[in-house]
Each structure stands twice: as structure tokens, then as C-alpha cells.
């Protein structure tokens, strides 16, 4: 069980020397970097419908580097498998990793520092996007898709009930009340207690920073005032029975959505694609608007979901693997396929490409869909950092929040429980955590 050493300081030094020219860096000496003679094969783990056609396009254009794509399960399953596979020295060369699990992948020695190969790739991305795969100056992945949060809503039903689409969260609460009055079977939205990523996004939009690191010391802000206020906001809506406090995307939820009894979903831009999968006949009824704001006039939103292409520490040819990762993340060809499959590209060029595309299948009538999306993407929270144990946070959060909703105890307390679990886990693992 060889554990990879991850001294970030050492890596950033390596990054600096290599930025000059990668001749004989400390890293390069370890593995033979000479280009192989025959065609080489890269193993690539990724989920989602966009990946296979993208890989095919790459393979066609690069006969010397053939990529074998494997669907190793969705986000959570895939990262769990990456960790075990790395430990067993079976990891693929390249893999997709969700932004919020990337730090855990770095700690577990899965993701390799690719700063020496990224060159000026950084310019292809908005700073907020690029920073999601960068830690302490070192790059660990090439962003591929981004999920800036928006409000996907059932426009037809909003119109029918005579409710305006809210632009602030205060208005959203009023609208929630109006919806309930207009139709007692209908809710404006769902508060799904297990949606860690969604809640984190809303808290980040309100200014919370769940993890920050300064030097060697981590600060955890899961129970910060900003997060607690977000919790209180939803608490109020739940207490007044203005939102549906149930899990998302269950057969039950899908049925209610199809019946027009759930009117909106604050989520990443990928929501349109997901909803289309379960409510295809509703195409034309739905639309997308910017996420309501906590403070009127402050349009910045956080991300929910989205992922980066990561070169693993097991890659035999990291340079070639990084080249593939860069193509998957930032090439126009790849972006075109992504858009076709309903993803929102992370690269600026890719996002520009969307403006020439048709709106998603769920909202063919919304001509300005991509323009609105571009505006949202331009206003994302500049720096979001995730901690090394998002997995622990996410699982503690899901259980604590579900129990709170189930038992009618305050969401605040659930957040505090999550906070404690995260700090305790980091301390057990030996991280330095600031006590506030």
C-alpha cells in the first residue's frame, strides 16, 4: 500500500521550475517521459452521455493516442472507485472528477499535479471556473463542464397561477405563498434535505465559505452565519408548508413534476437536461431564469456540480494524458458535442459556442436561453474552495438534514452537526483546523 506523498509546497516549487522549461524537473526524472514508439492507449473513466461521442472524436483525430472510455458509475461511485483503484494500482490514466470531490482526490493521491503541462490553458476559462481545479497555485485538472446555478421553472404554470417569477429570495418566499394560495396541491419548489451540493451552492451564493485554508491551517465555515441564515430561510418555508420537503428525482417527485405540482428547481444549468429526461412531454412549458438573489442587485451565484478532467498519479504518460485532458476540457470540438448533449461547457470558447446553438429540448421557445446562461456564468462567485473531506461533509449533511426534516428539528442544528462531524474528521485525520 504505497501512499503517494503530497507536499503541496514541494509541488508548487516543481511547478515554478517547470514553467521555465520542462527538462529535468524533480518529477520528470521519476518516470520516463520519452514519447513511446507505437500508438498508446489511455484509460478514461467518465460518466454521462456526452463522453462517448467526445472520446470517439478524439480517437478519430489522434490515431497515435487511443482512448478507452469506461463508465465507472456516477460522481460519488466513480470517485470512491478511483480511490480504491489507486490504492490497488489499477487506476485509469484520466478520469472525470466533480469539483467538490477534487480535494479528496488530491489527498488520496488520485489526482496528479499537471501545472507543468497546462501552459496558458488558464486563459481559456473564467477565473471562478479555473480556480475550482486549482489548489495553492497548482492545477489538478482541466475544467470540463460547469454548473452555475439558475432557476429552471415551469413558465406555463407560473402564468396560469398568475405568479411572477421571483428575482430575489424574499420575492421567492412571497411567490411560494401565492402559489400555495392559488393551488393548494402545488408547491413552488422542493427543499430536498439530501441535496448537499445545492444547499452548499445557495450558502456560497449568500457568501459562506465552507472551507478555507491559510498556510497549513484550515477553517471550516459550515455553521457560519451566512449558512445559518440560508438554513433559517428554508426552515421558515418548510414550517409554513410553502415548499415540499422531500427527496428529488424519485418516481414520486417525477410524477408530481409531470402533474405540474412542482413549479421550479434551483439547480445547476444542467437541470434542463435532467428534467427533459423525465418530463419530455412538457417541452415548451419550461424556461430558465437567473437564480433569485439574496441581496437585490448582487447577481453572483455559485456552482452546483460540474467536473474537471483529471490526470491520475497512475498515468504512464502524464504529458500525453494532460494533452487529452486539455482537449476534452477546452477544445471547440469537444464543447460542440457537450452542448449537443445538454452540458454547459466550462471553457469561455465553449460558452461562446452555445450562443449559436438551439435552446435545450425542454425549452425550445426560450430564444435567449444561452444568452441568459452566459450572463449567469459571467457572474459566478470568484473563488470557491472545497475541503479535503467533502465526502464526510456530504454524508453527514444528508443524514442530519433528512433527520431534521423528518423529526421537525431545526435545520440550524443539522448544519451544526455537520460542521462538528467535518471538524472532528479533519482533526482525527491529522489536519490543523482553526477553532473559531
Amino acid at each position: 500500500m504505497r501512499r503517494r506523498i503530497l507536499a503541496v509546497a514541494a509541488l508548487s516549487v516543481a511547478g515554478l521550475t517547470l514553467a521555465a522549461c520542462s527538462s529535468d524537473g524533480a518529477e520528470g526524472a521519476e518516470e520516463d517521459q520519452s514519447t513511446p514508439d507505437g500508438p498508446i492507449t489511455l484509460d478514461y473513466w467518465a460518466w454521462g452521455t456526452a463522453q462517448q461521442p467526445m472520446v470517439e472524436a478524439w480517437n478519430e483525430a489522434h490515431p497515435d493516442v487511443q482512448v478507452v472510455h469506461t463508465d465507472a458509475g456516477g460522481g460519488g461511485d466513480s470517485s470512491a472507485k478511483l480511490v480504491t483503484a489507486t490504492r490497488a494500482e489499477n487506476a485509469p490514466d484520466v478520469a472525470i472528477v466533480e469539483y467538490n470531490t477534487l480535494p479528496a482526490m488530491i489527498v488520496a493521491g488520485v489526482a496528479a499535479d499537471i501545472s507543468e503541462y497546462t501552459g496558458d490553458l488558464e486563459n481559456e476559462y473564467a477565473p471562478g471556473v479555473w480556480s475550482q481545479a486549482t489548489f495553492d497555485g497548482a492545477s489538478y485538472g482541466v475544467p470540463q463542464d460547469a454548473g452555475p446555478m439558475a432557476l429552471t421553472y415551469n413558465q406555463a404554470r407560473f402564468d396560469e397561477l398568475g405568479v411572477e417569477v421571483p428575482t430575489t429570495w424574499a420575492e421567492f418566499a412571497e411567490a411560494a405563498e401565492a402559489v400555495r394560495e392559488a393551488d393548494p396541491d402545488t408547491y413552488i419548489t422542493t427543499f430536498a434535505p439530501a441535496e448537499f451540493g445545492g444547499f452548499a451552492g445557495l450558502a456560497q451564493q449568500a457568501g459562506a465559505e465552507w472551507w478555507t485554508v491559510e498556510g497549513d491551517t484550515w477553517t471550516v465555515g459550515i455553521d457560519s452565519d451566512a449558512s445559518l441564515e440560508v438554513a433559517d430561510y428554508w426552515q421558515d418555508l418548510i414550517d409554513r408548508d410553502l415548499v415540499l420537503a422531500e427527496p428529488l428525482l424519485t418516481p414520486e417527485w417525477n410524477a408530481a413534476l409531470n402533474a405540474g405540482e412542482i413549479l421550479s428547481w434551483p439547480a445547476g444549468l444542467w437541470a434542463a437536461g435532467v428534467l427533459n429526461g423525465i418530463a419530455e412531454p412538457m417541452a415548451g412549458d419550461w424556461a430558465m431564469a437567473p437564480l433569485p438573489q439574496w441581496e437585490e442587485g448582487n447577481p453572483s451565484v455559485a456552482f452546483q456540480g460540474g467536473s474537471a478532467v483529471v490526470v491520475t498519479t497512475s498515468a504512464e504518460y502524464p504529458e500525453i494524458a494532460a494533452e487529452f485532458a486539455a482537449w476534452m476540457g477546452a477544445s471547440d470540438e469537444a464543447a460542440a458535442i457537450q452542448i449537443e448533449q445538454g452540458q454547459y461547457p466550462a471553457s469561455l470558447a465553449g460558452q461562446e459556442l452555445t450562443l449559436e446553438s438551439d435552446p435545450p429540448l425542454l425549452m425550445p421557445q426560450q430564444e435567449d436561453y444561452w444568452a441568459v446562461a452566459a450572463e449567469i456564468a459571467a457572474n459566478t462567485v470568484p473563488e470557491i474552495s472545497w475541503g479535503p473531506n467533502v465526502n464526510v461533509a456530504s454524508s453527514a449533511f444528508q443524514d442530519a438534514m433528512s433527520a431534521a426534516v423528518q423529526n421537525g428539528t431545526p435545520l440550524r442544528e443539522a448544519l451544526a452537526t455537520t460542521h462538528e462531524a467535518v471538524v472532528e474528521d479533519m482533526e482525527t485525520a491529522g489536519f490543523t483546523v482553526a477553532t473559531d
Binding site: W47, E98, L275, A279, G306
Partner: protein
């Protein structure tokens, strides 16, 4: 089982196979009724899978649960074209794992069970208790160490990593021991030995034919357990072309954020996946010798 068709008047009394009540009693309705309710309870969910497999993704959530949908052919086409024909590959993999695995496991278990039942040798009791202990271990607790060890020998991710651990079934050995103890008379073995047969010959020519019904049972139990196994292949395999059906269907339902679960595909896949197993059950049912399981406790 066929005795119930024999008329009570022509049946010689009393035979070992006799099952009939006194002729005076009329047929009762309530036993049939209770059994029918039980059958309904067991069949309704299966019927649901079949009906739901005819629905398109949105019909699944909008139409009445037991109302047939309009998407059967589309679903079938989608299922078999998904990922370039992956579903057929998964089915083939399941068949390979369960087929080879259960045949080999049956042979291995039978040999071991035969040895335990028909020979006295030092260490026999220890071996037997080790096997009983193996029956009681939860599979999930061994899956991770198994994976790490498989990786050590470079087999993780290969067909072997799923096949090899399925070859050992403590329960199969236990059954084989019980069955061999009851079905192979020591006198027959001894007679063959006096005629000069070696142990290998005694086993293959004398014991094996007597053990066939027990072997069919072990084969079926192991076939079903490999076919339905989820965790082991889920942990061992990372190449989806090697997935068995259970893992493949699971990946249809569990996608990352931003990708919808493919409910209708998973449901038609489930419907197609249980058909061969149900057919096999029905065909082989008559060979089941499950009484040998309970016979074991006396031994």
C-alpha cells in the same frame, strides 16, 4: 407430485407415496384461496415490471401504475442499442460468470463435501467448522480485502476477479457433505474398493452418479447467487464491457449530477434480465432436492 391424480379407489393403501385424505372428505376451498393470495402477492410486483417496461420515461410517472404504456418497442430498441449494444454484453457476462462459476463451484463443492462425508482424516472437524464459519460471514465485509488482494496479484478488473471468488461456496460444500453422507452408501464404496477401484474411480464412477440430484441443487443455488450478486462485481470491475446485468442496470439508475436516471431503460432491462432466470427455475424446479438442506442438521 403426480399422486394427486390417482383415484383413491384404485390406490393401494398404504404406500409411501400416499397423500390422499379419506375419500369421504370434499375438496376444500380455503387452502386454494390462501395459496392464491400468496401467489398474487408474489406475482403482482413481477407483473408490474412487465407492464412498466411498456411505458416510456414520462408515461412511467404520469399514467396509472398498472396501465400498459406505448413504448415497449422503443424501450427494447433503446435497451439493445444503449452504449453500442452494451446490454447484450452484460447479459452475456452474467451468463459467463454464473454459468462457468456455478458449474466449477458445484464440482469443487461436491469433491470437498464427498471427502468430508465419506472419509475420516485428521483435521476433518476443523475443516467442517471453518466451512460453517464461512457460511456465516457477511460478503460485504470481505469484498474490500478481496479487492485489495486481487490487485496485489494483478487480477482486479479482470473476469477472473469475479469468477474466482464465486468458485468457493461454503454453503455448497456443506450441502454436498450432507447429501453425500445420505446418498452414497459406504458399503457400495467398500465393495468397489475390494474389486480394486482406486479412490478417484470410486468417486467418479460410483459416487458422482449418485450425487447428481444434490449437484443440481448446488448448481442452481450457486447460479442464482452469482447471477444476482451485485457487490463483488461492482467493486472488482471498472470496465463496463465486463459488467454483469446487476451492475449494468445499477449504472443506468445511478448517474452523476447533471445526468438523468434512465428509469425506463433500467425497468425494461430488469424485465428482460429476470426472464431467463424464471424460465430456468421453472424448467429445473423438479430437480431441486432442498430437503437435503434440512437433512443436514441431523448429521
Amino acid at each position: 407430485m403426480a399422486t394427486s391424480t390417482v383415484s383413491p379407489l384404485t390406490r393401494p393403501l398404504p404406500t409411501a407415496a400416499a397423500r390422499l385424505g379419506p375419500p369421504a372428505r370434499p375438496r376444500r376451498i380455503w387452502p386454494s384461496l390462501v395459496l392464491l393470495i400468496g401467489a398474487l402477492y408474489c406475482l403482482v410486483p413481477v407483473a408490474w415490471v412487465v407492464i412498466a417496461s411498456t411505458k416510456s420515461n414520462s408515461e412511467l410517472f404520469t399514467t396509472f401504475t398498472f396501465a400498459p404504456g406505448s413504448g415497449l418497442l422503443d424501450n427494447l430498441r433503446d435497451l439493445f442499442s444503449y452504449g453500442g449494444g452494451q446490454f447484450a454484453q452484460w447479459a452475456l457476462n452474467s451468463l459467463i460468470f454464473a454459468g462457468f462459476g456455478s458449474v466449477a463451484c458445484t464440482l469443487i463443492s461436491t469433491m470437498a463435501g464427498f471427502a468430508l462425508a465419506k472419509y475420516t482424516f485428521p483435521g476433518r472437524q476443523i475443516v467442517f467448522y471453518a466451512i460453517l464459519g464461512g457460511v456465516l460471514l457477511p460478503g460485504i465485509t470481505l469484498a474490500i480485502p478481496q479487492y485489495l488482494l486481487m490487485s496485489e496479484i494483478g487480477l482486479a478488473g479482470s473476469y477472473w476477479s469475479v469468477l474466482l471468488p464465486s468458485l468457493i461456496s461454503p454453503f455448497g460444500i456443506y450441502l454436498a457433505r450432507v447429501y453425500a453422507g445420505a446418498a452414497v452408501p459406504s458399503e457400495t464404496m467398500e465393495a468397489a474398493r475390494i474389486d480394486g477401484a482406486g479412490d478417484a474411480r470410486v468417486f467418479s464412477a460410483i459416487a458422482l452418479p449418485m450425487l447428481v440430484p444434490g449437484m443440481v441443487t448446488i448448481f442452481l443455488l450457486q447460479f442464482v447467487s452469482i447471477w444476482n450478486n451485485f457487490l463483488l462485481p461492482f467493486i472488482m470491475l471498472s470496465d463496463e464491457r465486463m459488467y454483469p446485468l446487476t451492475v449494468g442496470l445499477y449504472t443506468l439508475l445511478s448517474k452523476g449530477s447533471g445526468t438523468p436516471s434512465l428509469y425506463s431503460l433500467a425497468i425494461i432491462g430488469a424485465a428482460v434480465a429476470i426472464i431467463p432466470l424464471v424460465v430456468m427455475m421453472l424448467v429445473l424446479q423438479r430437480y431441486w432436492r432442498l430437503d437435503l438442506i434440512s437433512g443436514g442438521l441431523k448429521g
